[in-house]
């Protein structure tokens, strides 16, 4: 057990996963991840190649190039970096290059802000990547290693990004149990390039990515659809396997917290989930049957699993730390496709504003109170704690 920030927990996870190529560009609040990796690599403690590229666009391009040559590759970014990289994020997803990336989720400007929001990572949700969201530094460390295993699984072979909230996770030091190298090696075999959908080898030349007419594109996209569908059991299986290997409980697609008999449930993702759980506990102390469902996986979206987890709870609140302008909270809208009738949408913590235990309590109490009223249904939307601008 050591005390490390969420960022360094990721770096050590990537080291344990024996990533072979790291191509990255600095951006707050992600920078510590790649600084630590650069240090580990340049001091010879990690056998990998560090590429100090000119931009996030180039970082992902280089990761794709390395992966195409059979090398396990990793990058990390945030916010504007992710937006700038976006073209190549799609290139990796649609080209089926199983790169792994950490995204320290942060608000997009203007106005400039470095604080947490999930709008950056969620904006990449249609790119063919698996998207995971972490709650703690320990989970970020564990997820880094599991992500490679999931990405490289023959049933998946798609890239994986995992999010950790700016500052509340990235820069907060916690006790983290680092996975021992031998445990990581037993869990994550070396990448077999022959399994890759795209493997560049001069002994067996291929052309990748040339023009494709409308007669075949749908079928190409359907392969990715199937890969993401098949990823669901893989995510669960990998979490179970990792739990067995490390002796620590792991969350696969979703986490259920005191939800089995709950009358009111809050659904959320990311670091504030811990506060939501504290709120559940204190409401339970007051005799209110509260529960929490945390979405660890955003892609594939665990809709059925979430629906089963909320059971017959009469009041459900979804807390989004993001917003799709002109529509609503991203997770609320997606959850709404499964449990629309019983769902109230809350937008909170935008631009890094705290979502406290009291906020979660207030949200759950209001949801419970209004569950049978005319405001029920997922179109109801509250911007929690919205103030007048001076």
């Amino acid at each position: 057990m050591i005390i490390v920030t969420g960022n360094h927990a990721v770096s050590y996870g990537v080291k344990a996963a024996r990533a072979e190529v790291v191509a990255a560009y600095p951006i707050t609040p992600q920078t510590q991840i790649i600084e630590k990796l650069a240090e580990l690599i340049q001091r010879g403690e990690m056998k990998a190649k560090y590429l100090r590229v000119d931009s996030e666009h180039s970082a992902m391009s280089a990761c794709i190039g390395a992966e195409a040559c059979g090398a396990r590759s990793f990058t990390a970014t945030s916010s504007h970096g992710l937006a700038y990289m976006s073209e190549m994020v799609f290139w990796a997803g649609l080209g089926r290059f199983p790169v792994v990336m950490a995204v320290v989720s942060r608000t997009l400007a203007p106005p400039w802000s470095i604080w947490n929001e999930h709008s950056d990572i969620l904006a990449q949700r249609d790119s063919g990547w698996l998207i995971m969201m972490c709650e703690s530094a320990q989970e970020a460390h564990d997820t880094a290693i599991q992500s490679f295993r999931i990405a490289e699984d023959e049933r998946v072979l798609q890239p994986v990004m995992f999010g950790l909230d700016a500052f509340s996770l990235s820069h907060t030091a916690e006790n983290v149990e680092l996975v021992e190298q031998s445990v990581a090696d037993g869990f994550l075999p070396p990448l077999d390039p022959k399994k890759l959908p795209v493997f560049l080898d001069t002994d067996c030349p291929i052309t990748f990515g040339n023009m494709l007419g409308p007669d075949k594109m749908m079928e190409f996209r359907h392969i990715i659809k199937e890969a993401l569908d098949k990823a669901k059991p893989v995510v669960e299986e990998v979490a179970r396997g990792f739990s067995k290997a490390t002796g620590r409980p792991q969350v696969g697609l979703i986490e259920r917290y005191r939800s089995s008999d709950a009358e009111v449930i809050v659904i959320a993702a990311g670091a504030s989930s811990g506060d939501a759980k504290d709120a559940v506990d204190s409401l339970r102390d007051r005799g209110i049957r509260a529960g929490m469902v945390r979405l660890k996986s955003i892609r594939p979206f665990p809709g059925d699993e979430m629906k089963a987890a909320v059971g017959s709870a009469k009041a459900i609140a979804v807390v989004d730390r993001d917003y799709s302008f002109g529509l609503g909270g991203v997770i609320a809208c997606e959850a709404g496709a499964y449990i629309g009738e019983r769902l109230r949408s809350y937008i909170a913590g935008i631009g890094g504003r705290d979502i406290t235990v009291e906020d979660f309590q207030g949200i759950m109490l209001e949801t419970l109170q209004k569950a049978e009223g005319k405001d029920a249904g997922y179109r109801s939307e509250t911007w929690w704690g919205l103030k007048e601008l001076e």
Binding site: K49, L51, D54, S55, S58, C69, A71, M88
Partner: protein, 305 residues
Amino acid sequence: MFTLKDLPVEEYFLPGNAACPGCAAVLSIRIALKVLGAKTMVVIPACCSSIIQGYYPKTASKVTLINTAFAATAAMASGMLAGLEMKGKQGVNVLGWAGDGGTADIGIQALSGAAERNENFIYVCYDNEAYMNTGTQGSSTTPKGAITTTTVCGKAERKKDVPEIMIAHNIPYVATACAAYPLDFAAKLKKAMGIKGLKYIHLLSPCPPGWRFPAEKTVEVGKLAVSTGAWILYEWEGGKYTLTGLSKGLLEKEKRKPIKEYLSTQGRFRQVGEDAANALQDDVDSIWEKMKKRLDEQEREQRQP
């Protein structure tokens, strides 16, 4: 000296591809792959060559080829080299093959980054002097005076000098070439193969539909670009410029054909009047003056004990 006999019979870029008639880019990639051989990986961004290679599931390329996004050529090549190094694979030539837009405009940041890191690959910009794949929009390497669909009265600005930008990066090898002189191009590629680090070759690639000349005139137009001095063939290595091919004999103005002979072969310069043509001639002459000064200075430095 590179002769025809030095080019292997083996074809790595096949006929029946989707190039326009008279395309100089496809003539040149054919030559390039003959020189580089089977152990080559080509990276191609959005450009004419993304079409030329043909539709999936067919391909004109017999060597490994990866397509990438417009701005990404040099970064993807860098990643491939890192991957090859980590996998212990040696002796693979990585070739970035990009148009002028993908090099001088949208791709210059990634190229500059790779140059600063001195990545060990060959980058060829085949410069057809506009965005030809999207239908002849002006790029930063479109020459002054040329009509494109976005410089409808003729471009007002001078052509961006990308080889000089690459020289400023102090990479081990920079050269210019012209598709009309395939052996000169081949010799430069051959030399580049033997050098470690980033090798940059800027290849002038005449484009019949974009420059508006008949398809059978590609080589003729390319030769005029060189013989009028509008395009200079040279190498830069270890801080030293060396003229190559026909350009070697063109240092004196009287040896060069008038620029008008080049302009008059192409519809894109049809609106260039007498004064404008004279101004373009002055531009060419001043570029040669600059080159002459450099060469003289080099010679003086060499003579000094």
